[in-house]
Symmetry: C2
Subunit: 374 residues, 2 copies
Amino acid sequence: VDRFSVTYRILADDIAAARGRALDISVEQTVEIPRAIVPHGFVEDEILGRVEAVRPHRDGEGVFAATISYSSADVGGDFLQLLNIVFGNCSIKTGMRVESIDLGDDVSAMLRGPRFGRDGLRTLLGVAQGPLLMSAIKPVGLPTRELADIAYQFALGGMDMIKDDHGLVDQPTAPFRERVRACVEAVGEANAKSGRNSIFVANITGSARGFDERAYFAKETGAGGVMVAPALQGYAAVEELAADAGFGLPIISHPAFSGANVIAPDIGFSHAFYYGQLQRMMGADAVVYPNFGGRFGFSVEECRAIVSGSTSTLSGLKPILPAPGGGMSIEKAPGMAKVYGEDVIYLIGGALLSEPDDLVGACRRLAEAVGRGN
Amino acid sequence: VDRFSVTYRILADDIAAARGRALDISVEQTVEIPRAIVPHGFVEDEILGRVEAVRPHRDGEGVFAATISYSSADVGGDFLQLLNIVFGNCSIKTGMRVESIDLGDDVSAMLRGPRFGRDGLRTLLGVAQGPLLMSAIKPVGLPTRELADIAYQFALGGMDMIKDDHGLVDQPTAPFRERVRACVEAVGEANAKSGRNSIFVANITGSARGFDERAYFAKETGAGGVMVAPALQGYAAVEELAADAGFGLPIISHPAFSGANVIAPDIGFSHAFYYGQLQRMMGADAVVYPNFGGRFGFSVEECRAIVSGSTSTLSGLKPILPAPGGGMSIEKAPGMAKVYGEDVIYLIGGALLSEPDDLVGACRRLAEAVGRGN
């Protein structure tokens, strides 16, 4: 049976203690019974996690990297069970963190991965070079026609993707169906005027039983993509939608409710795994996360790690686009270009909306600043 | 419009700085645009979060408690939007943590809450007094007939609830339908012999699109309850299943993949909120979490906080049963009784399975030790 492997960052006094902790993980994440009573044969030989390597971590003294392999027979085709093996119970332990995954053949064959990814999004949007631009209509509480007007101006100003703010769901002030219809129409009008190919991205985070209905409504109404917050909606919902050939729109992942999984350094998941590898395993085509230097605390190094997790080889899964947001401005454009290069979606909200009387102009100035002017 | 309120624990140098951080939360969690451009009228008056109080926190210097109220008009009937308002983007910030929620009338009217809860579970199981007993069949990798035999012995030994281990999903060694059928039958045979009313609880964590199908298959096959890991499956999936009158079985919540939301002290969610209040908002009837003194690091105080969140008044939502697991043994029974009293489900796995040749006897000795012997 084929195996996949996970590398954990482990705090321990010395390498012997680190090995002990790794052995604990290998038991906890699989058989979850005392090692002494693990049944001989298939369970012990295949299902039980195997500590493949324990070595000092580049982070220095008291930190170790342990690679543990698991049987694909323990996954049984369920994406959530894959995640459960990676860090189900051990998510509750301190001093251990998921750093990265190596999928192996069986697991990578089970995953559809991103349908579009970086290159597919560029093709869809007709932007072969330079960074992509995305903005969000908001605030929640505005009526549909005002939100649609903002969408129109964003599209006319040159934003490639105009998305719902993640807090726009199905509120009475701008109900989902009415809002998606109006915004798709508004972006279409702007495209007709500009000759561009901007798309509207509908937020479909919400009801579990109504999830596919919202996704398909968005598609049938002409939205160019959808956005989901996987930490709220559940990881399988995204994975199954991405794998659904009948759907076939890009999926943008939003980090709402996910932060605590990542921001404490010695627990949870690395930035590269959670906002990179995991997103591609789910099939997201782009991942929104807080940019360095904004109102959230991510460092340049953490953002680079997300880029790495989003783009480095992960079996056959396509690379996806990082979409840093939160505090983007014209002044910051050169610094961001240095870190991200061209393969990035700049998510810009407040800096544009702060110029409500000249939204189109603000978009154009920003596009110019990042090398996307006409 | 009615409002609900969330109390956050905030790190700050002084109360003025804490107020500043609270104002940031009130903006970030609602309008998510600079305060200066929040539209006048409905958005500013209703949607924008309101800082209701900021005060020193009992945890001492540099720690503050801030209560912020939000409009139920921002929820729009979506459970996930409720959670998004509580801590969507701010989950990515350090030095702030959700401590508790006060639902208000509109939000509490929107939530069905636990169908059974503490008292309903006691009635269903026919156990008016004393702690309830739950065990898990495992390890994954065993064939169905061996898992079913373990279920039989647990039931005969006096366990009230026999659940799937959370890693049992739909693996080829014990496929979901085959396993549920066999285990329901095994527990039924044991009940016929013992005169008890033990139930089998099927793990339905897995496919998003197949979630309801697994839930209903379990019900129709005679399972007495289901188990879900909400941090994997998504919070709305649980909420909608619990609200579905046609389903109507108890739901047990499992903490897999949830740990990082809680275990770092200054971010994420308090134990009382996440494993208590949130579970009741979703409609779980009992919540599994790691007991103090076991192989996870929860303290007695954190476990007491979970009990408080599971049972203290939360609008009209029923109190639910805490189900501490991980390291329960006969020796620990008196200490656990002191903390939990009678309204608890003891989840006992390894200590029983370590006596494979006398599983029934091990169950009976444990039942005796907690005052549930015959």
